[in-house]
């Protein structure tokens, strides 16, 4: 009975800024402010992946921070979820064509919730975290959790690096999730 209170009611968040222009970052900070108050959902911004349940990523991936993002994700204990905040994290956004940009964070880590917006509004960010928390709980109960993907089906998936031996295999997720199903996306108000 008590078990259902756990993950849903206390998602701890670690934030990693990949390539963001700070727009989404400062909206994330605004989430902490009294006006939006993340903590009322039991959400705490912990700085440390080892304590976190949800990884919030802002900005696209570049050559240097991809490895950092991967490390941060790998260090989080299961069950875990990833929220891509803003268009840059989702697809690369306006910077998609830059020479040092690899694209959305999907290139490196599996994403559970996409939060659109340039920048994403605080309400949308909170909604994204709460949705991720629900997925966490489903994942704990061993139920199948769909992962949305913004990568078109025709797109050739980029060769993912072989997982190092100490990496925990990703929790089974149905690969054929509908592309950016509206229900999975937190909408900007």
């Amino acid at each position: 009975m008590l078990r259902q209170f756990g993950l849903k009611k206390s998602p701890w968040v670690v934030h990693f800024n990949c390539n963001s222009c700070n727009g989404c970052d400062i909206e994330l900070l605004a989430c902490l402010s009294p006006l939006y108050d993340l903590e009322r959902f039991g959400i705490i911004h912990v700085g440390n992946p080892k304590h976190a349940d949800v990884l919030l990523v802002t900005g696209s991936v570049n050559h240097r921070n991809a490895r950092v993002l991967k490390n941060v994700y790998d260090q989080m204990p299961e069950p875990k979820a990833v929220v891509a905040v803003g268009v840059c994290a989702s697809t690369g956004g306006i910077f998609r064509e830059c020479y040092n940009v690899l694209g959305g964070i999907e290139e490196v880590v599996p994403v559970d919730v996409f939060v659109p917006g340039c920048p994403a509004r605080p309400e949308a960010v909170i909604d994204g975290i709460v949705k991720a928390a629900e997925k966490l709980d489903l994942r704990r109960r061993g139920q199948p959790v769909s992962r949305p993907s913004l990568v078109p089906e025709t797109h050739e998936p980029s060769p993912k690096p072989a997982a190092p031996p100490e990496t925990v295999p990703a929790t089974p997720a149905s690969p054929a999730a509908p592309v950016a199903a509206p229900a999975e996306l937190a909408k900007t108000p």
Partner: protein, 283 residues
Amino acid sequence: MSTRMTLGLAAVVLAPIVGGLIRGLDRVLTARLQGRQGPPLLQPFFDIIKLFQKEPVVVNRTQVFYAYLHLALIALATFMLATGGDALMLLFILAFSTLALVIGAMSVRSPFSRIGAQREIVMMVAYEPILILMVIGFYLANGSFRLQSVYEASRPMLLSLPLVFIAYLSVVMIKFQKSPFDLATSHHAHQEIVKGVTLEFAGPYLGMIELAHCYEAAFFLGLAGLFWATNAWMAALLAAGVFAVTLLLDNLCARLTTHWMFRFMWTVVFGLALTNIIWLYWR
């Protein structure tokens, strides 16, 4: 003997619940002071339940011993507090409990965890003398080192040990990791050493440490209540007062540095406690 045993076991069971509520209240009130709605009152319990549902992740396997040791010893200290055991031994067990956490944090080669651990040791060195002086004060006022004598005393300790009580307040501030003393770890990890001591503990092991923090909350407020042990209501009031002061100061101060803390504790606070003790001798 058996009633004391029951009392002790009841304390071991109840302390985390009370401590969790205190911590929940702390978070709610802090949020309200900051003009926020804050989490639900039961949030600390949700957190602990969640942590026990998470995957245990460690940097090395020996780490697990220290988490258990930390929790077990703080529970033992609570047991001794309730049964009225020897006060000095109580402090040593408490110190051993903190030390277990410190060594656990040192045993991983994670830089922030180690820096946090060493800061925690400095903090222990800073507050241990105050706690020992407090117990000496109990002894001088009651003629016994056993806490039982404090429970049975006819005169509230606060009247004999007013300055020691003030010194004890700063010890509570340090133990609760409240500003200006939140140096080695903090709940909201916005600081230079991330989460410090607890950095490399994750999942259930972090849950144990959180549980131990609940024990600590109940333990230290209970210890504050001892200063007016003659009347249960006054004791509760005193504990509530200590809680309020820590809460207020936490919201009114910036975090200061380890060196400042060490100097402050060994001069001002130590001086306060010592003055009180000397006064007790000459009385």
